[in-house]
């Protein structure tokens, strides 16, 4: 029996190391061809409706007559796309990581004078989708050194935590079993480079934290609030985990 357990252990270790040695692959590579074509076609991609709505909001003036476009250019042309691809970044003022959505809402709040948008609102999602779309094709590059490290490690721990009545952790499906089929769906690596994206099974645009909430609901677990510390940490870890992938917003995913 002891040898059996030892062999079992060795096989598991081998499986784990090979699984973790894999290169990051975009969720795009796990889609069927028709869905890939739909994503690449700006007129066929339903996520573009959200991006377009975000573009309108981007140049809609707030109470002090200014809009995002007043500083960042009409089509966001003055924004640094390399910077967009590096979110979440550490904010020295807030002493915590700032996600792209939190940054947009902060900026709106401080400079436009409009009533603050709710973090989970549709408009916040639309603005985030528009801004992230500007960096289409840019390489994801999240810096997790220095002050960001503890948040990265906290996110990593959450990614490897079992949740809910189903009692599964993220990595068990998206690292060990990526590429296998779960009922009719192909499991991807759970990369975030296509988010905010369009979720086919829900028929609507979702951001990465909203997609995680969907996963948690499937695991029969209690989701967190969209701006919770847990989701911020997870976004730090998951975006950094996909460093090197190209931004695809709005990606189409199952």
């Amino acid at each position: 029996m002891k040898t059996l357990i030892l062999i079992h252990f060795l096989i598991s270790v081998l499986a784990l190391t090979t699984a973790y040695a894999q290169q990051p692959l975009s969720g795009f590579d796990y889609l069927m061809q028709e869905m890939q074509e739909m994503q690449l076609d700006d007129f066929g991609n339903p996520g573009m409706l959200t991006v377009d709505a975000g573009e309108i909001l981007f140049s809609t003036p707030g109470e002090n007559g200014k809009s995002c476009a007043s500083c960042h250019g009409d089509d966001g042309s003055k924004l640094d796309i390399k910077n967009i691809a590096s979110y979440p970044v550490y904010s020295a003022d807030l002493k915590k990581p700032l996600t792209l959505r939190a940054q947009i809402l902060l900026c709106q709040d401080e400079r436009i004078g409009s009533p603050a948008l709710k973090h989970s609102s549709e408009q916040a999602l639309q603005l985030e989708a528009f801004v992230r779309r500007l960096a289409l094709g840019e390489t994801v590059k999240v810096d997790v050194s220095g002050e960001m490290t503890p948040y990265y490690e906290a996110g990593k721990k959450l990614f490897h935590t079992r949740w809910g009545q189903v009692d599964i952790a993220c990595h068990q499906c998206h690292v060990y079993h990526a590429g296998r089929t779960f009922r009719g769906q192909t499991l991807s690596q759970g990369q975030s480079n296509g988010f905010p994206g369009y979720r086919y099974t829900e028929g609507k645009a979702v951001s990465s934290p909203e997609r995680i909430s969907g996963c948690l609901a499937n695991l029969r677990a209690e989701p967190y609030a969209s701006d919770s510390e847990e989701y911020i940490n997870l976004e730090v870890y998951m975006n950094a985990r996909g460093n090197g992938l190209k931004i695809e917003t709005p990606g189409i995913r199952y």
Partner: protein, 157 residues
């Protein structure tokens, strides 16, 4: 006319009685949690000594909102499309494994493989993390359903 009124009244009374008794069974029907014991990678005693029914077990295994075994396993249930392949095919599992081992795999596979992706359908609820509020303290399947599924799997020879 009076007869119709009487009929309506009796219907109403019957409806009230059935709904209230439904509620009563609902609250009292939270099935008890039976303790189980692992011996040599098997649970040899049926949960609560309940007898399993293979026909009911087949229905639970194929039902997406109950057992949903098909999400990950291949099973001889041809009327259901789309089988997953996260887990091994279970065709003929009854001739490969003793019923006690099958029971452990359905009850709590993590006692066999700690890194398993398979949900524990009767895992001790206190061991679970952040379960949805309405499901707190409950197992996925109840003891009778577990025994039915076990009986079905053991019948696949």
């Amino acid at each position: 006319m009076r007869q119709i009124r009487l009929f309506r009244l009796s219907c109403l009374v019957a409806a009230i009685i059935t709904t209230s008794s439904a509620f009563a069974t609902e609250s009292s029907s939270a099935p008890p949690y039976f303790e189980w014991k692992v011996e040599n990678f098997a649970i040899n005693e049926p949960l609560g000594g309940l007898p399993g029914d293979a026909k009911r077990g087949r229905a639970i295994a194929g039902n997406q909102s109950r057992g949903n075994c098909l999400a990950c396993h291949l099973l001889p249930i041809p009327e259901e499309p789309f089988f997953g392949n996260l887990g091994p095919p279970l065709t003929g599992i009854g001739s490969r494994q003793a019923i006690g081992m099958i029971r452990l795999h359905v009850v709590d596979q993590s006692r066999f493989n700690p890194e398993t992706v398979m949900p524990g359908y009767y895992r001790t609820p206190a061991q679970l993390n952040r379960v949805a509020k309405q499901l707190k303290g409950k197992t996925w399947l109840n003891a009778q359903e577990i025994e039915d599924v076990v009986a079905y799997l053991a019948s696949l020879k």
